[in-house]
């Protein structure tokens, strides 16, 4: 073999025998290693999670203490706060920006990149036994497209007119022209930012799908894939199909804003409902993009920490796929009151009722997974159990709004605010805490501090429920969402004490998160050193060093069984890694005898 041929073979193998240390900029900044990109997504989205939380706290100040001077408000510019002798009072236009940006940042810049950017990148190649993503450079581009999107989104706070203020759903025509809101550039930056972020997600999705289809290790059949990878795979398909619709709608709205086109502006012949159809045709699959990976993460942690195979693995996979299909025909349930033909309301109600079923199947299977388990109540398990417990509440409250007549009353009230937070915070974010805590040792080679995590868990689960449970009650009393000063309505004024109670709980909830942040950074340097497999797990990522080297697997892993063989009688320990060869290999007599041709055969 000539030198050139050797180099080509070397390159084709991904160069993982290369022991040259990569320069700093290639290793930490413009990295093509999926694990580093996962960490980059994690740090950036955790930053946005903090921003989103602070925006929520400011919003809650106004709701808890309507039009009273906000502590520290004098530090904000006059475009946001009205200075008075006693302090600065929040302006309604800034409140609308807070409503909009809290939702936008949490959904697009925190939860989605944590679930898809962090866990998609970290877990997919490691769990299927691949050395990296199929397209490492595309992967790098995916991250580096998210950065300008984030910068544009944050910059919109500083421009004239302030940040976008038409809600995270940006319903036209309010969003289609600055004359209705006074926000021109802010809304345009919002649109441009999300368009760029959409490309980032698209590029990532293509990569995930290709990787899962093509790069599974020998023996890693479809039904031996861990549920986290299954969920991320279906999520990637949803992203691939949903994001182009959003991108198209965003660009149309940007044209309405800047070029004077009339897609959504009725005064020039446009159709406002078209925006809602396009937005929710993307938006409802997006809801599942935000929960499917969380379901996958919870499944991994629950099965592992209960030391028990996941109950009904096949129906769990089918439920993920079922949600993936049904997710496309339920978008109209966001639009029961929109003025779309009420007969359509009934069809969308029925499909929405149907999509409750796969979620119920998953919940019952999680419960059956912990049933008769050997439950280790350490912090990842506590977060994962909180996920199940809170997802039950979020799932059940969804049925109220799926029923069209009940939705007439509770649509656009705090009931829906409670519902979405039980799913996205109680569901997705608790699963993210579970996932980060569970895979932290794999990412950084150290364990997080268990006592601090338990303290964080205990405070968060209590405060979280004190914040969001009473929002159901506010909604039932008829309090609308996105309202700057509810005391303007006589019948809502008596709700002030409950709103104040919620706001105080929010401030404490936000403050509590500093425990997790401290633990996260402290453990990076001072955490107990982690072994390769601290949770006695079966899946492939735990067969490699913590953290895994570039190229992940020193040699190609071979998979012999499914990912959840815990407490199997065939194994001496209570786990049975996917790569451990069977202890009693198939004996000769199991192989069928060669068939002797019979006369009939000719």
């Amino acid at each position: 073999m000539s030198t050139i041929e050797q180099e080509m073979v070397h390159a084709a193998e991904g160069g993982h025998h290369d022991h040259h240390e990569l320069p700093f900029i290639r290793k930490y900044i413009f990295s093509t290693d999926h694990k580093m990109i996962a960490k980059q997504f994690m740090f950036v989205s955790l930053f946005f999670l903090v921003i989103g939380g602070l925006l929520a706290a400011m919003m809650r100040w106004q709701l808890g203490y309507p039009s009273q001077p906000m502590p520290g408000g004098m530090l904000l510019p006059d475009a946001m706060m009205a200075p008075t002798p006693n302090g600065a009072i929040m302006l309604p236009e800034f409140y609308n920006s807070l409503v909009t940006m809290h939702g936008t940042i949490m959904i697009f810049f925190a939860i989605m990149p944590l679930l898809v950017g962090l866990f998609g990148n970290l877990l997919i190649p490691l769990q299927i036994g691949a050395e990296d993503m199929a397209f490492p450079r595309l992967n790098m581009i995916s991250f580096w497209l998210a950065i300008p999107a984030g910068i544009l989104m944050l910059a919109s706070f500083a421009v004239e007119g302030g940040a976008a203020g038409a809600g995270w759903t940006s319903y036209a025509p309010l969003s289609a022209s600055g004359e209705w809101t006074g926000v021109y550039l802010g809304q345009q930056l919002w649109l441009a930012s999300l368009t760029i972020l959409g490309f980032s997600s698209l590029v990532g999705a293509v990569n995930y799908i290709t990787t899962v289809i093509n790069m599974r290790a020998p023996g890693m059949t479809w039904f031996r894939m861990p549920l986290a990878t299954w969920a991320l795979f279906i999520t990637a398909i949803l992203i691939l199909l949903a994001i182009p619709v959003l991108a198209g709608a965003l660009i149309m709205l940007l044209f309405d804003q800047t070029l004077g086109t009339g897609f959504f502006r009725p005064e020039v012949g446009g159709e406002p409902l078209l925006w809602q159809h396009l937005f929710w045709f993307f938006g409802h699959p997006e809801v599942y993009i935000l929960i499917l990976p969380a379901m996958g993460i919870a499944s991994e942690v629950l099965s592992n920490r209960a030391r028990k195979p996941i109950f009904g693995y096949h129906s769990m996979v089918l439920a993920i796929i079922g949600i993936g299909f049904l997710g496309w025909i339920v978008w109209g349930h966001h639009m029961f009151m929109s003025g779309m033909n009420p007969l359509l309301g009934t069809s969308f109600m029925i499909s929405t009722m149907a999509i409750a079923v796969p979620s119920a199947i998953k919940t019952f299977n999680w419960m059956a997974t912990v049933w008769k388990g050997d439950i280790h109540l350490d912090s990842p398990m506590l977060y994962a159990l909180a996920f199940v417990s809170m997802f039950i509440i979020g799932g059940l409250s969804g049925i109220f709004m799926a029923s069209t007549p009940v939705d007439i009353y509770i649509h656009d009230t705090y009931f829906i605010v409670a519902h979405i937070h039980y799913v996205l915070f109680g569901g997705s974010l608790f699963a993210i805490f579970a996932g980060i805590t569970f895979w932290y040792p794999k990412m950084f080679g150290r364990m997080m501090n268990e006592s601090l995590n338990k303290l964080h868990f205990g405070l968060t689960i209590v405060l979280y429920n004190l914040v969001f449970w009473p929002m159901h009650n506010l909604g039932l009393q008829g309090m609308m969402r996105r309202i700057y000063d509810f005391t303007q309505y006589e019948y809502l004024a008596p709700l002030q004490p409950m709103n104040e109670f919620i706001s105080i709980s929010v401030f404490l909830l936000v403050a509590t998160q500093s425990i997790y942040a401290f633990n996260f950074f402290w453990s990076l340097f001072k955490g107990e050193k982690a072994s390769d497999n601290p949770w006695d797990s079966n899946t492939l990522e735990w067969t490699v060093p913590s953290p895994p080297p570039h190229g992940n697997f020193p040699e190609m892993p071979v998979v012999y069984r499914g990912p959840y063989e815990y407490s199997s009688p065939e194994s001496e320990t209570d786990f049975y890694p996917q790569t451990t060869p069977p202890s009693n290999p198939p004996v000769q007599d199991l192989i069928p005898e060669p068939v002797t041709p019979t006369p009939e055969g000719f």
């Binding site: 309604p92 319903y171 025509p173 309010l174 006074g182 009725p266 406002p272 409902l273 209960a306 028990k308 195979p309 009904g312 693995y313 129906s315 009151m337 003025g339 007969l343 309301g345 009934t346 109600m349 009722m353 079923v357 119920a360 199947i361 919940t363 019952f364 419960m367 059956a368 912990v370 049933w371 008769k372 388990g373 050997d374 439950i375 109540l377 039950i392 509440i393 059940l396 049925i399 109220f400 029923s403 007549p405 009940v406 007439i408 009353y409 649509h411 656009d412 009650n473 039932l476 009393q477 609308m480 700057y484 000063d485 509810f486 303007q488 309505y489 019948y491 815990y566 407490s567 209570d574």
Partner: protein, 223 residues
């Protein structure tokens, strides 16, 4: 603080049915909530790790999967079936009007146009009120809902009525109050800086009082 899951009182012919479905769902979900959360906590307590405990090696049960697929499916489809009837009454089958009005939302007010003495809209004796909807009791009030600028949502919490107003679209909304009184009009869709101030009053009279009010208004507003 009101931690109640009861709905506040309602005063229209359809609101009883709407509230009824709400309570049916509240019972069903409430029971499922107590059972599932109760079992989950019981399992966590009962099967928590102890020295020597071995988890059951169990991959699932097709019978159970079928049971917890079919039972929820039947429950939610039944809820859907019951809901459809009430939805059609509220949003699809509009009864003959006792009073027809036009309600136009614009930043940040509600304009109401009444037919005047001739009982027909679009004639010269029409008259208007701002941020107030006056209506007779026990008669279907049929509203043509419009918007002049952006989306608004016409919300009558005590009547259990909500409908977005969409520029470029005429949407029919109806309700029939069952008790005279002073009620709320709200805007439930974010419509700009003044969204929070876009409230109004719904005043429901007895038939005779409404006629008196109506003729007085018609006379006052004649050019």
């Amino acid at each position: 603080m009101n931690w109640s899951w009861m709905l506040p009182p309602s005063f229209s012919t359809v609101s009883g049915d709407i509230d009824g479905i709400y309570y049916v769902i509240l019972w069903i979900t409430g029971i499922i909530f107590v059972i599932t959360e109760g079992l989950l906590f019981y399992f966590i307590f009962k099967y928590r790790h102890k020295e020597g405990r071995k988890a059951r090696y169990d991959h699932g049960s097709t019978k159970m999967e079928i049971a917890w697929t079919m039972i929820p499916l039947v429950i939610v489809l039944w809820i859907g079936f019951v809901s459809k009837g009430v939805w059609d009454t509220v949003k699809v089958d509009v009864p003959p009007a006792g009073l027809e009005v036009i309600v136009v939302g614009k930043q940040f007010e509600w304009n109401v146009t009444y037919p005047g003495p001739d009982g027909a809209l679009g004639t010269s004796d029409d008259f208007e009120t701002l941020n107030e909807l006056h209506a007779p009791v026990d008669q279907p009030v049929v509203i043509t809902l419009r918007s002049d600028d952006v989306l608004h949502s016409f919300f009558l919490p005590e009547m259990r009525i909500k409908q977005d107003a969409v520029p470029g679209q005429d949407i029919t909304v109806w309700f029939e109050a069952i008790q005279p009184g002073d009620y709320t009009i709200g805007c439930a869709e974010l419509c700009g800086i003044g969204h929070t101030t876009m409230g109004g009053r719904l005043i429901v009279y007895t038939e005779a009082d409404f006629q008196a009010w109506s003729s007085a208004q018609a006379q006052q507003q004649q050019p």
